[in-house]
């Protein structure tokens, strides 16, 4: 068995393709372009939270206004003609 595996020692080392470095550089460049910088990410997250909070405030305000318009006023006067 040992001499069987030792055949692996005859495997010669291969030189990788010349184009490989350019491919790697391209991959690194692509990765840089796709990367969103951390401050930008914080800014996006903060604006999303701000928009959601403003929406909630606006909806609550609108609801309150609707409620005040819909309040039922009780008529205490007697509408029947006095006989």
């Amino acid at each position: 068995m040992e001499e069987n595996i030792d055949i692996l020692k005859n495997i010669s080392k291969v030189e990788p393709s010349d184009f490989l470095f350019n491919k790697i550089k391209l991959k690194i460049e692509l990765q840089k372009q796709n990367e969103i910088p951390l401050p930008k990410m914080y800014a996006i997250a903060a604006s999303v939270i701000l928009i959601i909070s403003l929406n909630i405030v606006a909806m609550t305000w609108k609801n309150n206004q609707n409620n005040s318009q819909n309040t039922i006023s009780i008529n205490t006067q007697n509408n029947f003609y006095n006989e």
Binding site: M1, E2, N4, I5, D6, I7, L8, K9, N10, I11, S12, K13, V14, E15, P16, S17, L20, F21, K23, I24, K27, I28, Q31
Partner: protein, 173 residues
């Protein structure tokens, strides 16, 4: 150290180690790309007092093992989709995947046979065999690369050889 210098000095190491794991030029090139992208990302945090080759060995081993797992998953998914769809174009892609330019033609069949058995070993056993038999590393060097003790390397190597002998015998029979 400049990235290009690291690439020039280690490209052969990375490519050939990856080739030992996947035995296919295209796949080894893909792994090599991933390894150097990862090196480029992490180079600023690397402590240059420690051995850069050991670090690159570790990255290459991890990327190679990840690649194999990814390919197995893809193959499994391909099999499942082939059960539902008629188009079986991808079915035979891996049938003749062995493409190792470092192996001489007369030994191609025997080496492929041994690699088939190596590919059935557990990840750690496979790594130990590759580092010891192909990369010609000493037990101490393997221990450093794999971050384990020398005695652990010896026991892994022993178990790997037994398993390999069994698989080779089974495949012959």
């Amino acid at each position: 150290m400049e990235f290009q210098t690291i690439y020039i000095e280690h490209k052969k190491l990375v490519f050939n180690l990856a080739l030992s794991y996947v035995q296919n030029v295209e796949d080894a090139e893909e792994i090599t790309q991933d390894v150097f992208v990862s090196i480029h990302e992490k180079i600023s945090s690397f402590n240059f007092n420690s051995n850069i080759s050991t670090w690159i060995y570790r990255i290459t081993i991890n990327k190679s093992l990840d690649f194999i797992k990814y390919k197995k998953r893809k193959k499994r998914f391909g099999f499942i989709t082939s059960l539902f769809f008629e188009n079986n174009e991808e079915k035979n892609i891996d049938a003749n995947d062995f493409n190792h330019p470092g192996v001489i033609l007369e030994q191609q069949e025997t080496v492929q046979h041994i690699f088939n058995a190596i590919n059935q070993l557990k990840e750690e056993q496979k790594t130990v065999i590759i580092l010891s038999k192909i990369e010609d590393k000493s037990h101490k060097e393997i221990a450093e690369i794999m971050n384990i003790s020398t005695s652990a390397v010896e026991s892994l190597l022993g178990r790997a050889k037994i398993k390999l002998a069994e698989t080779l015998k089974q495949n012959e029979g």
